[in-house]
Amino acid sequence: MNKIVALAGVVIKELYRRKDFYVLFVLTALLTVAAGMVNFFNDDKIIRIVKDVCLMLIWVSALIIAIVTTARQIPAEREARTLFPLLAKPVSRGQVLAGKFLGCWLATGVALVVFYFFFAIITGSREHIWPWAVYFQAMWLQWFMLAIVIAMVLLGSLYFAAPSSTSTISFILVVGMLGLGSHLNTLALQQPEPMQSLLAGIYFAMPHLEWFDLRDFVVYDQKLIAWPAFALATVYAVVWTGIFLLLAWFGFRRKNLST
């Protein structure tokens, strides 16, 4: 476990040395503050559009950080030839993968905490209420959704040729899952066979990332989601993360790294 934590620490250091997070945070902050400063019909109590814009930017930024950071981990190690000395140490391939995953996930978690803290300050300064429990649920589920994404990207990075292609394909997949995930079954019913069975099969087999998006609950000041459902969603994310990590390990342990 210590080896995995040490490897994760290196990934976290890499994130705060690179400028991706800072650029995305400044961009999010600027756009949110700009949205908050627009005057609509001389009403200074309007807040939902600011929340909407800020949360959308947080989601986009977190996805960019998670996908781009993860996609370059293994290929960069191979390209810089630092993977061989690393594996020459008493570290297994599985531990390398687990360390990379944990590092990316924790780094994304740190970024999310900063983003949500900023969100809470901005909205709280205008609304004068801080529904911390709703924010916690929204951030927690987003973080666990990112765990699935990071594990999936890690798997993809072992097979795709370059980090850029891994990132692009991952973005398309994640956006597709978030946008169409809950409607795929409805769409399937409107299709002729064999497309109907194919879409229905994908619907039941894919990870449902859309469950982890609680932005509407935050924007529209809705009550908390039931804690048992919240816990089940967390378990669901852990299971899917485990599936992707196992698949990645199956691929990585037999992969010829010298080519």
């Binding site: 609509f40 939902r48 079954n185 982890f212 529209y220």
Partner: protein, 285 residues
């Protein structure tokens, strides 16, 4: 021959400045886009209208606090409720049932997924209607010819938020962009009537009738309902002001287009009775 790069740079800047002064007046003629005083007009040109409807829909989504059908759900193409609400429609229990677009869960994934979706049908109230305003403002900027944006926005500003001045300014902006539209004049008249400014309400509604009468046959057919509202409201206004002859004239005009001419006849009969009785209220016009 060697030339200093600084001299070259200064020469190029001077040349660019000279050409710009010569071209700026002509460039305005080349592009209609540059004439727009609207930010979105400059950026998107006429393409901005494509987004306007989406932004108007977003106002409706906010009106429902996020409980809204997506393009994949049934009832997604129905008329937007903010339009009905702004025209005085009240929702019945039956309407609410009809809007339960989610229906029964189709499978366990759908059933579990509903924990993470908004499933309660609520409308904005108690001043929270203000949250829709940014989308209506943006929709108006994107498509200044979309009349509903102004009428719906002005309704919520006036009726729910008590912002009469902002509502008037928004309607006037709409009228500035659509000078031939009588629906905007009708809404403006309602606003003046609510502010007890009867004279301005009358003038604006009469202008609305003039605009309607100037339309061609197809336009008149399309705007029948607006004329009906204008004439009925003018009739009621004149009745309240004691101008009974005028009131009857307007109500008779409304009868020609109204879906309920019988009800208007009852109002006409009541006014005629008042006319036959000795006058007690002095006429204001």
């Amino acid at each position: 021959m060697k030339t200093s790069p600084w001299i070259a740079l200064v020469s190029l800047l001077a040349l660019a400045f000279t050409v710009a002064t010569s071209l700026s007046s002509r460039a305005d003629i080349w592009s209609k886009r540059s004439k727009s005083n609207n930010f979105f007009g400059v950026i998107f040109g006429d393409g901005r209208k494509l987004f306007a409807n989406q932004f108007f829909t977003m106002a409706d989504v906010y009106f429902h606090s996020g409980y809204y059908p997506s393009i994949f759900d049934k009832n997604s193409a129905e008329q937007k409720e903010i339009i009905s609400a702004s025209h005085g429609a009240k929702e019945t229990e039956e309407d609410e049932k009809k809007e339960d677009f989610l229906g029964q869960p189709k499978d366990w994934i759908d059933a579990f997924g509903r924990h993470f979706r908004l499933t309660e049908h609520v409308h904005l109230e108690q001043g929270n209607e203000r949250e829709m305003l940014p989308w209506l403002r943006l929709a108006a900027d994107l498509d200044p010819q979309k009349i509903e944006t102004y009428t719906v926005g002005a309704f919520f500003l006036r009726e729910h938020l008590g912002k009469t001045n902002e509502a008037e300014a928004f309607l006037r902006e709409g009228f500035h962009n659509n000078p031939e539209n009588s629906e905007l004049l009708f809404e403006l008249g309602r606003l003046y009537q609510d502010s007890a400014d009867v004279t301005r309400a009358r003038n604006v509604w009469e202008l609305g009738v003039k605009k309607f009468l100037a339309l061609d046959d197809a336009g008149k057919k399309e705007n029948k309902l607006v004329f009906d509202q204008l004439a009925v409201n003018l009739g009621r206004l004149e009745d309240a002001a004691g101008n009974f002859d005028q009131a009857i004239k307007w109500l008779r005009a409304a009868q020609s287009v109204s879906p309920v001419p019988g009800e208007l006849q009852i109002q006409i009969d009541a006014i005629q009775k008042k006319l036959a009785a000795p006058a007690s209220v002095p006429a204001t016009k």
